[in-house]
């Protein structure tokens, strides 16, 4: 059964120095509040795993939390580069393990399925197998065809954001569901941050439900996906994603922004008003 606890307590239980940690959310439902709490708790030496590092890992990399990054697309979507990520790679101060989206999605599926590897039609003819040791050929035992295998991703800690949970810790999320279910099921310890705790999870079309007994911790974190979004509660703060380019281009500007907006805040503090999504929370389906 999931324990419903404050965010700072949950992060302290779930994330330790040196862990492999996956904070997922495909554009939608990215757990920024949890990332900020990990930064505030001063975690380091982490292997960060995420299909799209996005601003959330740009921040964690820039703050020195990461030893290694496992990823498949490291840009600021529709804007350009992730400067803290890019600088770290170009200065060779961050080890990387690089996949395609299909490879990482299947690696999470294998993790959630208790299998050591996944098979896909992917990577063939590309230069990725030459630079990533976790991409290997595998032969179909029936047809002899050669395909590609990737090992399961089984993070020490898996963290996602969701719309809501009930008091027993059953979690409900909808909209773009990404690999949310897979990362929770693939991880040794899991934490789901939610917009709100409700009495009853009214069914919603397209919703994924994670039963309480499959989740370790649930923490309320209203607005906790900002500047990403939570369908039905907020919209993506595209202006913030654009503004991030200038904030993050230079390490000192970046550090000063992080000091003012992350380090000095308590866990669960909503984002600064200027950067909040225009839509008010609560208009859920």
């Amino acid at each position: 059964m999931a324990q419903v606890v404050p965010l700072a307590d949950a992060v302290a239980e779930v994330v330790h120095d040196g862990d492999s940690v996956a904070l997922e959310g495909f554009t939608h439902l990215i757990p920024f509040a949890a990332a900020h709490e990990i930064i505030r708790q001063g975690r380091g030496g982490l292997t960060l795993i995420r299909m799209t590092p996005d601003l959330v890992y740009d921040q964690m990399i820039g703050m020195g939390c990461a030893r290694k990054l496992v990823f498949s697309w490291g840009g600021n979507p529709g804007v350009g580069s992730l400067h803290r990520f890019r600088d770290a790679v170009q200065s060779r101060s961050l080890e990387i393990e690089e996949h395609s989206h299909a490879g990482m999605a299947n690696a999470y599926v294998a993790g959630a399925s208790g299998l050591p590897f996944a098979v896909l039609r992917g990577y063939r003819g590309t230069d990725l197998p030459g630079v990533t040791a976790t991409i290997k050929p595998i032969t179909c035992p029936f047809t002899g065809e050669e395909l590609t295998a990737v090992p399961a991703i089984t993070p020490d800690a898996g963290i996602v954001h969701a719309q809501r949970a009930d008091r027993r810790g059953n979690v409900q999320l909808w909209g773009i569901t990404g690999v949310q279910k897979e990362v929770v099921l693939a991880s040794r310890r899991s934490l789901v941050t939610v917009e709100e705790i409700v009495d009853t999870l009214t069914p919603v079309p397209g919703a994924v439900v994670l039963p309480s007994w499959a989740v370790d911790y649930v923490s309320p974190a209203p607005g906790g996906s900002h500047p990403s979004y939570t369908q039905g509660y907020s919209v993506r703060d595209n202006a913030f994603y654009s503004a991030w380019d200038a904030i993050s281009r230079d390490q000192s500007t970046f550090l000063s922004w992080m000091r003012d907006n992350v380090l000095s805040q308590a866990a669960g503090t909503p984002p600064p008003p200027a950067a909040r999504a225009p839509e008010a929370p609560g208009n859920h389906a």
Binding site: S72, W73, P77, G78, T126, D127, E145, G175, S242
Partner: protein, 245 residues
């Protein structure tokens, strides 16, 4: 009405999308072109984004491939593993729409790194969905501004396979789709030579010259015997595009 080279490029790309097709859409210019096609001559075009949104009908251009408007307007939203495994991988999707940082004479695409991978001059975002889009879609349309920096003899890193290093490489690799049959730039359109599978110029946009295109290409670019002039944008096309962006 006058237009920019980017507008011509986007409109030329949109024209290649026929009604009734399914299209796997990358973000940026591909998304603009695909949405333009849906607003003009191809209202029955099915837009598919790697975020799992199938049949998205956004009323404004999304900034990311996962904006809420895509999920809200989709026929169905599936998980990310499902979009890659059940929809892209089996070759169900007709057209893949990709961008590129570098593209070479065989249509191979680099979006990973400029220079040495281990010690890159410029680190690019990486693969995302592109390698499997390039492998599995019925065909691929690449949209990229033409320059000697982008149109190279051989990409520094093969992120997504075009025609490999020689005719027949796709079949040898077991890639199911027909590859980058169309590369649309701000100067014209390149298509593979049916024999060698090397990209050559088949269309020049209004006001551009073969010399200009050759100047913007780092390999010795040849023109197809049937080199044609792209029809200029119609007022309707321009209006629809400008309403969108």
């Amino acid at each position: 009405m006058s237009w920019t080279a980017d507008e011509m490029m986007t409109i030329a790309a949109a024209r290649r999308l026929h009604d009734g097709l399914s299209c796997f859409v990358g973000i940026g210019l591909p998304s603009t072109a695909a949405n333009l096609a849906r607003r003009t001559h191809a209202p029955g075009l099915t837009l598919i984004y790697e975020s799992g949104t199938i049949g998205a009908k956004p009323d404004h251009l999304p900034l990311s491939i996962g904006d809420g408007i895509l999920a809200e307007t989709a026929d169905t939203v599936v998980s990310v593993p499902e979009i890659f495994n059940y929809w892209l991988q089996p070759g169900r999707i007709d057209v893949g729409f990709l961008g590129a940082a570098q593209i070479d004479r065989f249509g191979n695409i680099n979006t990973t790194a400029i220079g040495d991978y281990a010690d890159p001059k410029v680190r690019l975002p990486g693969a995302g969905g592109a390698p499997e889009i390039a492998a599995s879609c019925g065909e691929v349309i690449v949209i990229v501004r033409q320059s000697r920096r982008a149109f190279v003899d051989r990409v520094d890193f093969v992120t997504s396979v075009g025609f490999g290093r020689a005719a027949g490489d796709r079949a040898r690799l077991g890639l199911r789709g027909h590859g980058p049959r169309t590369v649309i730039t701000d100067l014209g359109i390149l298509e593979p030579d049916p024999g060698t599978e090397e990209l050559r110029l088949t269309h020049l946009h209004p006001g551009t010259t073969l010399a200009q295109a050759q100047e913007a290409t780092a390999w010795p670019l040849t023109a197809a015997p049937t080199l044609q002039r792209t029809e200029p944008p119609t007022p309707d096309e321009l209006q629809a595009l400008r309403a969108l962006t």
